[in-house]
Symmetry: C2
Subunit: 212 residues, 2 copies
């Protein structure tokens, strides 16, 4: 498929990158992505879980989902992952900004049909969100597997934008007597909430301690 | 404009809502949104800052940005805001899930041209991210204002999807002897990083203490 996405950064080209290792890192640190596509001339942007198998982004959903069916049929899409890393508070509104890392992947997904590849792909999705979890879970049943659609989007045509570092104030604003700098932001885990229907004697496993 | 977005939730309708107060809350707690649109049949999804003025979402960008120009000309778009609230760890891969609140707004943006309304809108964007900050900043210059495009997207056609609460395991999985529950997630501020070019005697203002 020819992807026609215009990935040039006309403005602020210093914020752009084509580094595939950085793309991997942005995906691997993410919990969700936003999938964009157009149906009947109406754009949609839908949040989804994701995983990565080499140079492919994996997405999954119900076999009865219209979205999954449309994507599986090759509907052009854009998958965007954004890490908001901080608020950049400059001495003016104009120079205030955000620190972020954002990856846009353009293309069309393909259905993963091979049973072993599909099983492995769904395992990757579980491990992506909770590394260590998979070993504790029973294998998925054939019924569960057949109720799930797995899609792969190649990491071929992509664009990275990012900003980091302190505010870039205009020289004439530098002696303004107000605080300037960055308030870092990150998605942090809180206190785990045990399911109400779980026996009290089951302890939080070690692999979830790190996410406390 | 007639918005043709299909906002019906065919699957899991219990996760849907049309509550405008909930829509406001999702916007007001957000720091970024993802803006989806299609150019030359290629979908794009771009992260942007946002604000809210009543029932309108405000977006801003450079006057020389192609995206802002296209949106200002009425390009159909979808603005999606997602709060990832937690990982839902069930006793099976299949029933594992995420807790989230997601708002999709469909329509076309309009350019805010009235100078006072534009100034007020840009102020709202500053206050949205750092409440209290605006009072400390010098007013924007005429040059800065004219270098910035402000867009408003009406909160008319929208769709909310959310999930909260513990895992919904299958009955037969309930006595699996593994931990199950929710790992809450939230975007948290870290230690403020003062700009290197700031005098040492400027203290962190009170309105930023709360974001520590």
């Amino acid at each position: 498929m020819t992807v026609k996405a215009d990935t040039r950064l006309r403005r602020l080209p210093e914020r752009g990158s084509k580094d595939i290792r950085l793309a991997h890192k942005i995906i691997d640190e993410s919990r969700i992505c936003h999938v964009g596509f157009t149906l009947d001339e109406q754009p949609y942007v839908v949040p989804m879980a994701l995983g990565r198998n080499g140079d492919r982004i994996l997405l999954h959903g119900s076999v009865v989902s219209r979205l999954m069916t449309n994507l599986a049929e090759g509907l052009p899409c854009c998958v965007t992952i954004t890490h908001l890393d901080g608020l950049v508070l400059a001495r003016s509104s104009f120079n205030s900004s955000m620190n972020y890392r954002s990856l846009m992947v353009f293309g069309a997904a393909t259905l993963v049909t091979d049973p072993e590849e599909k099983k492995r792909g769904l395992d990757i999705l579980v491990e992506h969100l909770a590394p260590g979890r998979l070993a504790e879970l029973r294998p998925s049943t054939r019924k569960e597997l057949s109720a799930t659609t797995l899609l792969a989007l190649p990491l071929e045509t992509f664009s990275i934008k990012n900003r980091s570092g302190p505010p870039g104030d205009a020289k004439r604003d530098l002696d303004t007597p107000i605080w300037a700098g960055v308030i870092p932001l990150s998605l942090e885990p809180g206190q785990p909430q045990p399911a109400p229907d779980m026996p009290d004697d089951i302890a939080l496993p070690a692999y979830l301690h790190s996410s406390r």
